[in-house]
Symmetry: C2
Subunit: 147 residues, 2 copies
Amino acid sequence: MKAVRNWQEGFRWDETELLAYKSDAAHFENITRQLLFNAPHGLSTQLRYFEISPGGFSTLEKHAHPHAVVVLRGTGRVLINSEIHDLAPFDLVTVAPWAWHQFRAEDTSTFGFLCLVNIQRDQPVLPSEDDLAKLRRNSLTSSFIKL
Amino acid sequence: MKAVRNWQEGFRWDETELLAYKSDAAHFENITRQLLFNAPHGLSTQLRYFEISPGGFSTLEKHAHPHAVVVLRGTGRVLINSEIHDLAPFDLVTVAPWAWHQFRAEDTSTFGFLCLVNIQRDQPVLPSEDDLAKLRRNSLTSSFIKL
């Protein structure tokens, strides 16, 4: 890996592959992944860049490991448990352990963000019917969620 | 800490203190630090934002721990051992263990970047007179270095 990898128009980077968001095709739409730093030289985290096309969304999920997020491009929103927040470039998001979370791009914006995770981490859990019923009791949350 | 901390004009963030780069006043100029993520909820790294005013520079140093850097603002240059690279927003830099490195802002640009480090890391080492003599054998490197 080169010491410096330049950014390219369209939010691509030298020597950095454009990846599928996840290996299954369910529970998300219009989202790509680039692994910017794969724990180089003993760094204990990965830094990924996710990009959601207009109207797309990440999986609604929760897990024990935290996320630390820095928005880089466009506008979107995030659901964290019962809260929904507007996001714009350079805003910071902390997703605490076991918080339900889902990112959405605005309908007219490509929305890109950095997301930091420990290399050693657990698998995400998807909501059960019970979990969804609870999340849907709140009308704001209910209208936000996409599956 | 709030789940979302908004970015503010001038590259400040909600609830995020503007800190001195280091506690001593030597070997660097015109640089500030903000600790954006201090290993929240068991994350094993810190994410810092450093900002160098026009003409300023970070300490010329090396250490065992790696750096992963994402440029956010302005233009600058980095020395990594005998190489000097131009940097612009969203460029990625990997500083390998024990590589000499120094960041500089362009004379007309405020230069800001994210820098990722493990929480558990060693202290930086400054160059000896011998190290400086070696770094100065290369005319490009020699004219780059600031102390």
